[in-house]
Symmetry: C2
Subunit: 207 residues, 2 copies
DNA sequence: GTCTATACTCGGATAGAC
DNA sequence: GTCTATCCGAGTATAGAC
């Protein structure tokens, strides 16, 4: 749990703006001036709240991963018709996940920048940190495929493919705008994307 | 066509090393010192061959896109059993493409860094530059799906999904190593990946 | 074509006044 | 907690000798 002293609001504002900047331009592409300007304070004042640039980066990730963990718990554990199984269950979790990514593009771009880098700015390994979630998903698919409720495919490879197919759309906005010649992030486009992902995975997974 | 004067070999060495560096650490993460050290000359000497850092970056992309165009022509036009159609054709082109990406990971990482960025370092829009290839693929899928030789899905969305699923594996090496707990790029792992991609798309596309 | 030397800018970080 | 002032290193780019 992060320390919350006196005026936590400045710290929160810094984290918010830093997340935006790091997501947009990556670690090297973001300067303390960029963050400070967004918050409305001076560069030196940032370093009253955090000891260094990389400390800000790490704090942004701690918060982002906490949000992610909370969201996972909600979607996978909590509600859910208990008889929900096979494709119906996958479809619901997938759809909720895609909607969350669409609404949290900063998170997606942050993760993608870090995945593409060599991890030297983050104090820990992002892949290792996400491995428990990954393993849980692998176990789920193994069970459902073994029971014949989903088509038999390699679960690890399936999840990696899904990860790439889903996250790329929301991370590479500028590229897709050029490729498609239209705005890939307006409401209608995002809804089309969600439906396309659902149909694609249904075609691949329904036995 | 790029100018080739007297000692083209230094220029070529610079481009080769620059491609490696930009692919590994992106535009901001690469310094002229990094490139110069790899070539075995001094920073100032780079600027005898290219007017600026961004000019080197642009030249790297020109060359990379030329390689890409050449490769596309070979695989799509040239050989091919003329009666090859439907999934059989897609499978061959897909497999050849994935193998090429596996062997040209610098190209993949270069493209992904640029896709994730806002395009301000490149003199042109990468998405627009690739649009003709994209349109050609879209037209192909429309034809085959219309003829009932492939399952009907949205062609644009399908290609974007494939783009994300295929390229992510070869760009996010460090992340995948942490996620899987093993080397995702050894020969066996890559062969498994290729087979998994083929099976996944076969499941989704075979009518 | 490559080098050294240098100019200039920017980024991260610290010291100390208010 | 925020500021100004300052230090230091790294980065891009240029000038000019060899």
């Amino acid at each position: 749990m992060a320390y919350e002293g006196g005026t936590g609001s400045t710290r929160a504002a810094i984290l918010k703006e830093a997340r935006r900047c790091f997501a947009e331009r990556g670690y090297e592409g973001t300067s303390l001036n960029d963050i400070a300007a967004g918050v409305g304070i001076r560069r030196a004042s940032l370093l009253h709240h955090f000891p260094s640039k990389s400390a800000i980066y790490q704090a942004v990730f701690e918060q982002a991963l906490a949000d992610w963990g909370e969201r996972i718990s909600k979607s996978v554990d909590e509600p859910a018709d208990p008889e929900e199984e096979g494709w119906t269950h996958v479809d619901r979790v997938l759809t909720e996940a895609v909607r969350w990514f669409a609404e949290n593009r900063d998170f997606v771009r942050l993760v993608r920048h870090e995945s593409l880098a060599d991890g030297s700015h983050l104090g820990f390994d992002l892949g290792e940190a996400l491995r428990p979630y990954f393993q849980r998903a692998v176990n789920y698919f193994e069970r459902e495929m073994g029971a014949g409720r989903l088509r038999k495919l390699d679960p690890e490879q399936l999840i990696i493919s899904g990860y790439g197919a889903v996250l790329t759309y929301f991370s590479d906005e500028h590229f897709l705008r050029g490729l498609l010649g239209r705005d890939p992030m307006d409401e209608k486009a995002i809804e089309s994307r969600i439906q396309a992902i659902r149909e694609f995975f249904r075609a691949a997974l329904e036995p």
